[in-house]
Amino acid sequence: MSFNDLFSANSISGSGMTAESYRMEVIANNIANANSTRSANGGPFRRQDVVFAEVLGSATRGAPGPNFRGVQVVDRIEDPSELPRVFMPGHPDADAEGFVQMPNVQLPIEMVNLLTASRAYEANLRAAQTFRQMSEQALALLRG
């Protein structure tokens, strides 16, 4: 095990926390824009989702398994599902029939995703804390 691998458990848990907090940011952005009828790329806001992928380093000779590197956010995608049409004739973005296309953000879905992201964040934090305790145990061996 090389020196860089010594604290790799910490960076694995760290990558998990980074990915989950990014997911929470995207969810917060979805909730904040639940009623935005205009977005940067034209048209109403579409809810966004993140794509996670496992990260593996190159395997070293004699290693017991792949070289774990945690998780990474590889993409942020827009939900292509249908935008609900709401009858609001007075709205400046209403079409000729008086309907406005609203964002496809659904609060219950966002809240459940927020909850799972938060739980996953806590679990990563717990793993990082345990690694710290284990390192302290190993250092205690030096004290004898």
Binding site: S8, A9, I12, S13, S15, G16, A19, E20, R23, F52, A53, E54, P64, G65, P66, F68, G70, V71, T116, A117, R119, A120, A123, N124, R126, A127, A128, T130, F131, Q133, M134, Q137, A138, A140, L141, G144
Partner: protein, 118 residues
């Protein structure tokens, strides 16, 4: 007392295996929301037990931990990580590491005492 003690070596192997298992659990937990991820685990104790009982396999000092892809109930997104299970394994693994570290400490302490002649 024997100083070239294979038991100390075995305890060191236990700590190595526990450190590896911690990384594997950390990887599983980090990928709890990665679609299609399969949980992995470390195989060590069963092989060590066989080696110590002398029922086949390599000698106890040559037993090495290795990582396998484990099966488990699959979620809709093809992911097999169960957070509760991982947290449970994390705690169990920490206790194993701690126990091995403390047994090494106490053995080294008694070796020191024997050397000092107390």
């Amino acid at each position: 007392m024997e100083t070239r003690d294979s038991r100390l070596h075995i305890l060191q192997q236990v700590m190595d295996a526990a450190a590896l298992r911690h990384r594997v659990i950390a990887q599983n937990v980090a990928n709890v929301n990665t679609p299609g991820y399969r949980r992995q685990e470390v195989v060590f104790e069963a092989e060590m037990a066989r080696a110590l009982a002398g029922t086949g396999g390599p000698a106890a000092v040559n037993v090495k931990p290795y990582v396998v892809v484990a099966d488990g109930p699959e979620r809709v997104d093809g992911n097999t990580v169960d957070l509760n299970r991982e947290m449970n394994d994390l705690n169990k693994n920490f206790l194993l590491y701690e126990a091995a570290a403390q047994i090494i400490t106490s053995r080294v302490t008694s070796l020191k005492a024997a050397i000092a002649g107390h």
